[in-house]
Symmetry: C2
Subunit: 373 residues, 2 copies
């Protein structure tokens, strides 16, 4: 590590320095707002620091408490700056209130480090609605973006093992031009996050036939179809709920209401099956022996679908990258979210996305009637 | 069996005869329209006939083909009347077309046997949209019902092992009064289908806080809360996708768009985990031995979540009971749908539901502004 890298990060507008060498990625982490408190977040930060020497951190929350927690982790020595912020956004706080009174919270401070260019990515386990609301006012939307979206990776039958789904809850509404933007952003994310050259995008509906579904979905269908080429993705048309974990497409586009319910239904179903599987193996002495023999196999399965390991919704459409970790994330979950944040930053995802949006925007703008928003 | 029961059923308005004795339940079965053709349907009918001597059938489809298939099953001798219908509703047919031109199809004929009172329940594996459209014109909606709904049983963590969810696809729209009717119908179904005295009803949303979600959901929330007592259910308020397979409520109420996507996401996730589990057990010699030892446990698990064994969406809100079996149902699936149809008929579910709807309707009508529809 160079001397410069050992000091607290500042002015780190880009992870690449002026001579083209890449410095460490600086990640701004909100230590508060998660269900398990700052200790779990610091443990996750420490786990990431251990696995990857190329990351530095700015940690936001009550200074005394964080100083104590960080001091206990030798791996964080010289790699973790603490920014005191005594106020906390709670899970039950309304986004509108947080927008008005959020200054001084650890969440606000976390985003401001990205806004100031000191960090490349922000990570928070806090209140999703508040985080999106604050991200919109502190980072602002990318030019031409109407509604930012939250994208997640979802375990799937595809060779890349995951599909991208968006929006999973940034905004409960989405009209046809919004859904086109989601398609563009989701495809861009799949290119970086899943290393796919030409992602296949599907529009979520109640049937694959073109006459089915809501009117705005038919409009979105035609709009996305028209702009697939400029967005450098393949449009497979309407897909159904079963395609989210399926193999018919790589990116599933939907509004935040439907996407949120779909993802939570999927998580709940996986959790139910996990419980039933445990019961099944605990049922008899023979099945208990079987479970010991199958331990490695079951661990492999668990690793593949463990929500903690694919933890992190990415906010797309902002001037800056924000990763939303699960509120209930433990150290493993926080570390997975940091890994995702690191990879997005290192790959230059944000600049690619902004470029792609500008391109599709130009192509769409030239044909669409002006919109009121 | 009495002599009367051995003849082909006719005029069987109720399964209970004039002296209060219960005759066999007559089920009207559409042999066509499923992905696996009439042979799978007849196999399912035969399986049900074997398990339950209290059922008789009216089977609809091409007469020569069905006569041949039925003749091969000795168990069906004298218990299965065939009604010739040469036209078939295909999966790709639009409901609106089928409504205009559906006469002469096996689906139309299947519903008409219920309309005429010859059978108590209809079962079809065919096109869901067309089946609902034909059911609406042939059976008509129950007084006061605006939108009928499709309800399914979904595996859950609750002691009764299943939750009821509706609507899963009858209609992509639903306003607040519709959602109140779904709550009433779903609670009534849970009482009969899951033997629950006071079902807990939840309204599906993107969060459990009362300020979240779409405006019509907030309206529905207040409306359902107000009428929970007259509907004889407990209202737990907003629930999330994870509660569909969860234990926080017994009945999940939502519009047909959201419900359809949720159920298909859940099915897809279960299918993905099944695939991964198979892979995990096939991975090494040790894990293959484990899978043999765990065979009984895994079968128990499979039986609990096998979609074929909980096969059958029930159409609620019509003058007659219609069970929609999965289009891809095999004999096991068809037989499960017939079992459900039998149980609904035997329990007098339809009359209970109609009574409950009338009661809630009166209570709601007295307070609601008149609606245009």
């Amino acid at each position: 590590m160079s001397a410069a890298q050992q000091t607290a990060p500042s002015g780190a507008k880009s992870a690449t320095d002026s001579e083209g060498r890449t410095g460490p990625v600086v990640i701004s982490v909100d230590a508060m707002g998660g269900d398990r408190g700052p200790a779990a977040v610091v443990a996750g930060v420490a786990a990431s620091a251990k696995k990857n020497s190329d990351i530095k951190f700015i940690l936001h929350g009550p200074e005394a408490e964080l100083t104590k927690l960080v001091a206990r982790r030798r791996i964080l020595s010289g790699r973790c700056e603490i920014r005191g912020a005594d106020r906390i956004v709670r899970m039950e706080d309304k986004p509108s209130q947080v927008m008005r009174n959020g200054k001084g919270t650890s969440m606000w401070s976390t985003l401001d480090a990205v806004r100031a260019g000191e960090a490349q990515v922000a990570v928070s386990c806090g209140n999703t609605g508040a985080l999106m609301a604050l991200s919109m006012i502190r980072l602002r939307k990318l030019p031409g973006v109407n509604r930012p979206a939250i994208a997640v990776l979802w375990p799937s039958k595809n060779p890349q093992h995951f599909n991208v789904m968006l929006d999973v809850g940034a905004d409960i509404r989405a009209d046809a031009p919004d859904l086109l933007q989601y398609a563009t952003m989701g495809a861009s994310y799949a290119k970086t996050g899943l290393a796919l050259e030409t992602p296949r995008v599907g529009l979520l509906n109640v049937g694959t036939e073109e006459h089915k579904g809501r009117a705005e979905l038919k409009e979105a269908h035609d709009l996305i179809k028209k702009h697939a080429e400029s967005g450098a993705f393949e449009f497979v048309g309407f897909v159904e709920g079963g395609d989210i974990p399926g193999k018919n497409c790589d990116v599933i586009v939907t509004d935040g209401f439907t996407g949120n319910i779909a993802i939570k239904t999927g998580e709940g179903t996986a959790s139910l099956i996990g419980d039933l599987l445990r019961d099944a193996f605990a049922y008899s002495p023979l099945s208990r022996i079987a479970s010991v023999l199958a331990l490695t196999s079951l661990r492999r399965l668990k690793k593949r679908i463990d929500p903690r390991r694919v933890n992190g919704g990415v906010f797309l459409g902002l001037n800056g990258t924000v990763v939303k970790s699960h509120g209930s994330a433990d150290a493993t979950g926080v570390s997975a979210a940091i890994k995702l944040a690191y990879e997005l930053s290192r790959s230059g995802f944000h600049d690619t996305l902004a470029g792609q949006l500008a391109q599709t925007g130009q192509s769409a703008q030239s044909e669409l009637p002006p919109r009121a928003s």
